[in-house]
């Protein structure tokens, strides 16, 4: 009986963890859907967004280290702090500017190139942004606090203790992440279905050439999609950065999104969510039931093996579009 109660707790925590994975996977899906590009830099975008948010919030002077080295000055901070909401809005603006620059300096020059070329360009972009983030804001680990609560939810613990005699652990940050992810997905779906720009984005996703022929600007759509992906990266960066502090490892959360994408499909927003939930729950339950028999640390292994099975039997993922090539 105890095992079942513990498994229920793990199931709930797995769902919440899955939402955190899905937040990262969403950014990949958006860009892949609109441009067919697998954006290797999505994890680094989350790191860059979180670094920028903390930098703005704490009134850090960007490129301070470089300025001090060149001019012999000792500037570090502007001497003010910025409220969280304003800092998030300003960071969003920086991500839009970044999207514009990426389109202008990278993507525009690669129109018509094979997807592998665009993929390689995003690898270069990832390395560039890693360095840029460090040079702009420094390599120290930064504390990110935008007022999100963290720690055990005592109300859930109390209720489950009354029901089962064992209080469940649910992190309040995970609850917030779930709510925010749900709102984000609803907003993205509404945007794609009911706005002119959203429909244009879907048209580009369906057929670049046809979309161009009816007057849709590919450049505008790319800037828009990268801006949205940048905003999603900011949300993921806030959630993961609140947990661990903002540091380079944040960019590695992209590794957790890969199996989610293989499972859910690279072109489906609901697929990213469902894939995230399956991976989150699956890896946690596998670790709970099977982990102790094989020495533990099975979570990464499980996620990738499950993704591999999908690649063999359903390569387009659960919700992805089936690719049929006629030769």
């Amino acid at each position: 009986m105890d095992q079942m109660i513990f498994a229920a707790e793990i199931f709930l925590n797995g769902l919440m963890t899955g939402v955190m994975y899905a937040l990262v996977a969403l950014g990949f899906v958006l860009i892949f859907k609109a441009s067919g590009v697998f954006n290797y830099a999505q994890g680094v975008l989350a790191l860059f967004a979180a670094l920028t948010l903390v930098g703005i919030q704490q009134g850090q002077v960007p490129f301070a280290h470089m300025i001090n080295a060149v001019f012999g000055t000792h500037v570090e901070h502007f001497g003010w702090t910025v409220p969280s909401v304003l800092a998030i809005i300003l960071t969003g603006a920086v991500m839009v500017l970044l999207a514009f620059l990426i389109e202008k300096l990278v993507l525009q020059h690669l129109v018509g190139q094979a997807p592998i070329i665009l993929f390689m360009a995003t690898i270069g972009l990832a390395y560039f942004l890693e360095g840029l983030g460090d040079v702009m804001w420094g390599a120290n680990i930064k504390n990110l606090d935008v007022g999100l609560p963290q720690g055990i939810s005592e109300s859930i613990e109390g209720v489950t203790a009354n029901w089962f005699g064992y209080g469940f652990f649910i992190d309040r940050l995970d609850i917030w992440a779930t709510v925010i992810a749900a709102l984000l997905v609803a907003a993205l779906v509404a945007f794609a279905q009911y706005t002119k720009q959203g429909r244009a984005m879907r048209a580009v996703a369906d057929d670049h050439q046809a979309a161009l022929s009816v007057g849709i600007s590919l450049r505008f759509i790319w800037v828009m999609v990268w801006s949205i992906a940048g905003f999603v990266a900011l949300v993921a960066g806030i959630m993961w950065g609140t947990k661990s502090g903002v540091q380079f490892s944040l960019s590695l959360i992209a590794l957790k999104a890969l199996p989610v994408l293989m499972l859910g499909g690279f072109t489906s927003i609901p697929g990213a969510i469902v894939g995230g939930l399956i991976i989150g729950v699956g890896e946690k339950l596998f670790e709970f039931f099977i982990g102790p028999m094989v020495g533990g640390a099975t979570e990464n292994w499980f996620a990738y093996v499950l993704a591999l099975l999908f690649l063999v039997f359903r390569p387009q993922g659960l919700f992805g579009e089936r690719i049929i090539e006629r030769v």
Binding site: H65, G72, I141, N143, G151, I152, S244, F248, K256, E299
Partner: protein, 427 residues
């Protein structure tokens, strides 16, 4: 044109390569990648101590010290590349701050005849100098750390851990697995139950492990983490309301970068250390005068006094003392790696000598020999004060349990000797 190019190439080489008379101590550092925040501070301390010796004393025995830096990003392949790229520049000794890189370099340094110094990390059984002629890991190694942690807990529990439950949360890598066998043997000896909880690198997600800890309610948690794993573990411990004073990290899980991101909830967290904390030592006055104020500090002196900075500085101090001893034995100032190895084997950093160096009671006495390359293994406990934003030392230097460790070291080093075809030296 050809002549101009040759002259240019020669001038470039002269400018970049150290003069052969310099003492070359390459710094295989990592300032980028997942562990860059940790590596940067250590590298700064390492560089700054040698800068201090150059600026204040004119080097060691009249020889300036060159510290060419090579970025490894904590990547084993890059670490080996750095070693290969610097070994023919007159390099005397390597300190790569990575157990993975150390394992790759151990067979190489024996062939190339370079000293490998791995304080507090690397292959534990390298303490056996009969087998590992070129490797030194004083003042303490991982198994010493595990034993001192248990001794501390014994002390806290009136000498009895019988029936207690201890969980080990460890980085699922060669580094993280190092203490497992030692703790298993100590569990058998002292009657406590050990549960082992591996965490996959980098350690951003640890929910399963901490839910298990919440269910099993161990009396103590010991952690062998590095990088983001530390911050997440301390945060998760706070989330499940695990008492911080019962949570102990190895020295690589006990720096400011591990606790500051967690904020006030990290208060009371403990970690092992094999050196002092803070800046209340005379050497920092000299660093201020000769290195920081003249603008010669690595990275502008941003991390002076942090735990990892102090550890890097301490590693440089031990190397410089070994160089000094080697010069004394050889009677020359421009020593070779072979002579440095002799210097290490006859190293004796007494408390009096540490005081002369401006670091009274900073580390344990380090007395090495042909067969003992690891020193006494003494370590002490530090505790985080979140409000004050500083670590405080809460125990004296404690010796590990050699009754348990000595047979383990012998077993592991003998196995390596057989595997590598090494005949142990007579010491």
């Amino acid at each position: 044109m050809k002549l101009t190019f040759t002259a240019f190439a020669a001038a470039t080489l002269m400018a970049t390569a150290p003069a052969m008379a310099d003492l070359v101590v390459p710094n295989l550092s990592y300032r980028t990648g997942a562990y860059g925040a940790n590596g940067t501070q250590y590298a700064d301390g390492f560089n700054d101590y040698f800068t201090l010796l150059n600026e204040r004393d004119g080097g060691i025995g009249g020889e300036k010290i060159k510290v060419p830096e090579c970025e490894t990003a904590y990547n084993t392949e890059k670490g080996v590349e750095c070693y290969e790229a610097t070994k023919d520049t007159g390099a005397l000794v390597y300190n790569p701050l990575s157990t993975g890189i150390t394992y790759q370099l151990i067979p190489k340094v024996a062939v190339d005849k370079k000293v490998l110094y791995t304080p507090g990390y690397g292959r534990t059984s390298a303490k056996n100098g009969k087998v590992f002629e070129w490797v030194f890991n004083a003042p303490a190694n991982y198994w010493d750390g595990a034993s001192v942690a248990i001794k501390y807990l014994l002390d806290q529990n009136g000498g009895d851990l019988n029936g207690k439950k201890i969980a080990l949360v460890y980085h699922n890598s060669a580094y993280g697995k190092e203490p497992v066998r030692t703790l298993q043997d100590l569990a058998e000896k002292h009657g406590f139950t050990l549960s082992e909880l591996p965490v996959d690198a980098p350690g951003q997600e640890q929910k399963s492990q901490w839910l298990q800890i919440r269910r099993e309610q161990p009396d103590y948690v010991i952690m062998w983490g590095w990088g983001v794993m530390n911050q997440v573990a301390i945060q998760e411990a706070a989330n499940i309301r695990f008492p911080m004073e019962n949570f102990i990290g190895i020295w690589w899980s006990g720096s400011e970068v591990d606790v500051v991101p967690v904020g006030a909830k990290a208060n009371g967290y403990k970690a092992l250390t094999f050196h002092g904390v803070g800046q209340d030592y005379p050497v920092y006055d000299d660093l201020q005068e000769y290195v920081i104020e003249p603008g010669k500090a690595s990275q502008g002196g941003e991390h002076v006094g942090s735990v990892l900075y102090s550890r890097g500085m301490y590693a440089a101090l031990v190397i410089s003392e070994a160089i000094r001893k080697a010069q004394e034995i050889a009677g020359v100032s421009a020593i070779s790696p072979e002579q440095l190895r002799e210097g290490f084997e006859q190293l004796d950093i007494t408390p009096e000598r540490l005081e002369e160096l401006g670091l009274p009671d900073f580390g344990p006495e380090i007395k090495l020999s042909c067969d003992n390359h690891g020193g006494s293994g003494m370590a002490r406990m530090q505790q985080w004060d979140a409000e004050g934003g500083k670590w405080s030392l809460i125990s004296e230097f404690t010796e590990p349990d050699q009754e348990i460790l000595a047979p383990l070291i012998a077993e592991d080093s003998d196995a390596y000797a057989k595997e590598a075809g090494i005949t142990p030296r007579d010491c």
